[in-house]
């Protein structure tokens, strides 16, 4: 393994990464849960599925937050997570619109 130069290494950027991971991670988790709620097995109808959907939000959110610290900079964390949000919500809204 070659030694990484200073700017190849992960930068700390604690605040920006934590904020991006917390907020954009949560909205991303809501997007996944929403897609699952409407188009996952069973559809929107089963009454206990509402609770299941609520339960899956937090693990998705926390895993995104946990791995946000792998982004090299806080700016990249913000950009990639924003892009993931846009993709996820586009899928959700497209499905809701056409199905």
């Amino acid at each position: 393994m070659t030694r990484l130069s200073a700017d190849q290494k992960i930068q700390p950027h604690w605040w920006s990464k934590t904020l991006s991971g917390s907020i954009l991670g949560l909205s991303l988790a809501f997007a996944f849960a929403s897609i699952f709620a409407w188009y996952g097995p069973g559809g929107i109808e089963p009454s206990m599925k509402t609770q299941f959907n609520m339960w899956i939000i937090s693990p998705i959110w926390l895993l995104v937050l946990s791995f946000s610290f792998l982004f090299k900079t806080g700016k990249k964390a913000f950009l990639y997570l924003s892009a993931a949000n846009i993709v996820a919500y586009s899928i959700f809204l497209t499905l809701r619109w056409y199905l």
């Binding site: 809501f30 849960a33 089963p46 206990m48 509402t50 939000i57 926390l62 937050l65 946990s66 792998l70």
Partner: protein, 537 residues
């Protein structure tokens, strides 16, 4: 396994800071959670048997209901039938009742004599089990935010940090995991031993910890999650609303108890009925909440599943018992399993003891984590940095102080009844008085002496619990305690007494003979009133 150095360092920082911020409240949540596993037994242990009225045969419940509702207006609106040993056959709230914790509710108990005459008795329910549960859920932090306890929110935030600590801890442990997994190096000094045991406990109980972190976050923030999910549901309601009936019912139209039993037994096969709570009986929205239990299956509540019925039409409005014939929503059992995995209610007695032990190991994990933080910042000088001294005093004062305060309340329980202290207020005042006294002691006298003294006191008080139970039958004034024998509770107290005395001894040895340049070192110069001989037991 090789991982880049900068990744390891990043996650080491995440682990350190999330751990140190969340560790103290999580310690209280965990050790109190271990005790909460045995909440029914603790309440039973603390309640004088004289408060329970004699059980009657199931066939007599109808006669009992008829007599009670005819005579007492409050009971005609709602009452609870109990079908297990540690409760009177029928109870109703004279004041208070409903959800949440109140310290001076008064609960009426009723039964029938052999000649079918009504006997009633008013008493304040013992809340010791519920208070320990509250400590478990709030870490003893008082206050409310909206309709949620402040402590619950704080523990929810702590659980988010705890999840991050788990993930980051695993990541930066990966490279050395295989080599050092079962290594418990006690010959390389105290800090090595703490590090090895911290890693070992953390890795072995990782699934348990992930489940606890996840469920605590959901318990704290479900309103937020449902709120966001509601937006995605759009016009579709998250939950079906119950239509209100047009008919007003009267308590006189109730079915015989036998009919309810048959109905419930059919809905919940293999379960035992614990209690039936009838409420709002003379209204348009009457309700019957039945608690059923089975020690070996996953349950929605800590020790019961719930079935809600309309007491007059017998229509089922909610049930947490799922089966092919009734209530076959495939998501039901999955959601229920999340709750059950938190409560540890699915593995019978052995499963509950396992959760008890894992909860205590969790507390040990956080305590040890704080000790490691202190050790890492140790400087080669006799007086350690201010931040180190403060953190050491907080760690010992809050963690051991909370245990000391709770154990003191357990010891005081029987004596409160003897001295006719208002029981539930007594627990609360005693807990906070001792908790804060312990923290103040640690700040004034230092964490080293604090740890020794508190552990000695812990051992003494645990012995006191055992001694109280032993002498109870010998003192006539303690008449109500005469049934007490040495049971599981006393055996556990004895084991813990021994453990606390031993660890107090080890702590004292380290203080006098261990590393000098440490927050844990004591010399006769720094503390004048103690000599090694006095402290070493």
């Amino acid at each position: 396994m090789r991982i880049r150095g900068d990744i390891l360092r990043t996650y080491q920082s995440v682990h350190t800071w999330t751990g140190i911020v969340a560790g103290l409240v999580l310690f209280i949540g965990f050790y109190a959670g271990s005790l909460t596993v045995f909440k029914p037994e603790i309440t039973q242990w603390a309640t004088p048997t004289s408060e329970y009225l004699a059980p009657i045969e199931v066939e007599k419940y109808d006669a009992l209901i008829e007599q009670v509702t005819a005579k007492h207006q409050k009971a005609a609106d709602g009452f609870t039938l109990n079908f297990h040993q540690q409760a009177s056959p029928l109870t109703w709230y004279e004041s208070g009742g409903g959800r949440g914790l109140r310290l001076d509710d008064s609960l009426n108990h009723a039964t029938l004599t052999q000649q079918d005459e009504l006997v009633t008795q008013l008493a304040t329910p013992n809340e010791l089990g519920n208070l320990i549960d509250l400590l478990h859920r709030t870490a003893g932090i008082i206050g409310e935010v909206g309709h949620e306890d402040l402590g619950v929110i704080i523990l929810g935030i702590a659980a988010v940090l705890y999840f991050l600590a788990l993930v980051s801890g695993v990541i930066f442990l990966l490279p050395t995991l295989v080599k050092n997994f079962f290594a418990l190096r006690s010959n390389k000094g105290a800090s090595r031993f703490w590090l090895d045991s911290h890693n070992l406990v953390g890795i072995i109980s990782l699934p348990f910890h992930l489940i606890i972190a996840w469920t605590v976050i959901v318990f704290s923030f479900h309103d937020v999650f449902y709120g966001g999910l509601g937006l995605a549901y759009g016009d579709k309601p998250l939950f079906e609303r119950q239509a209100k009936a047009e008919v007003a019912y009267s308590v006189n139209n109730l079915h015989p108890v036998d009919k309810y039993i048959k109905e419930v037994n059919q809905l919940a096969q293999g379960y035992q009925i614990k209690s039936m709570e009838f409420s709002r009986l003379n209204s348009k929205a009457p309700q019957l909440g039945v608690q059923v239990t089975n020690p070996d299956v996953m349950k929605r509540g800590q020790d019961a599943d719930y079935i809600m019925l309309h007491p007059y039409t017998l229509k089922v409005t909610y049930s947490s018992v799922f089966s092919q014939e009734h209530n076959s929503d495939p998501y039901g059992p999955v959601v229920k399993s999340f709750f059950a995995l938190h409560f540890g209610n699915y593995g019978g007695e052995a499963g509950r003891w396992l959760y008890f032990v894992m909860g205590l190991l969790g507390a040990f994990l956080f305590y040890g984590g704080n000790l490691l933080w202190l050790e890492k910042r140790r400087q080669k000088q006799t007086t350690q940095s201010r931040s180190n001294r403060v953190m050491a005093a907080l760690t010992v004062g809050i963690c051991l102080g909370s245990v000391l305060a709770l154990v003191s309340a357990l010891l005081a329980s029987k004596w409160f009844y003897l001295m006719q202290v208002q029981i539930n207020q007594g627990y609360v005042y005693l807990y906070y008085a001792i908790f804060f006294a312990a923290i103040i002691f640690c700040f004034i006298k230092g964490a080293a002496l604090g740890a020794i003294r508190i552990q000695q006191l812990l051992g003494t008080i645990c012995m006191g619990i055992v001694i109280t139970s032993v002498i109870a039958p010998l003192i006539p004034a303690l008449g109500f305690m005469q049934h007490l024998a040495i049971g599981g509770f006393e055996i556990v107290a004895l084991v813990f007494a021994m453990a606390f005395f031993y660890s107090a001894h080890k702590t004292a040895q380290r203080a006098y003979y261990g590393e000098r340049n440490s927050i844990w070192a004591l010399t006769p110069n720094t503390v004048k009133d103690v000599t090694p001989q006095q402290v070493t037991i």
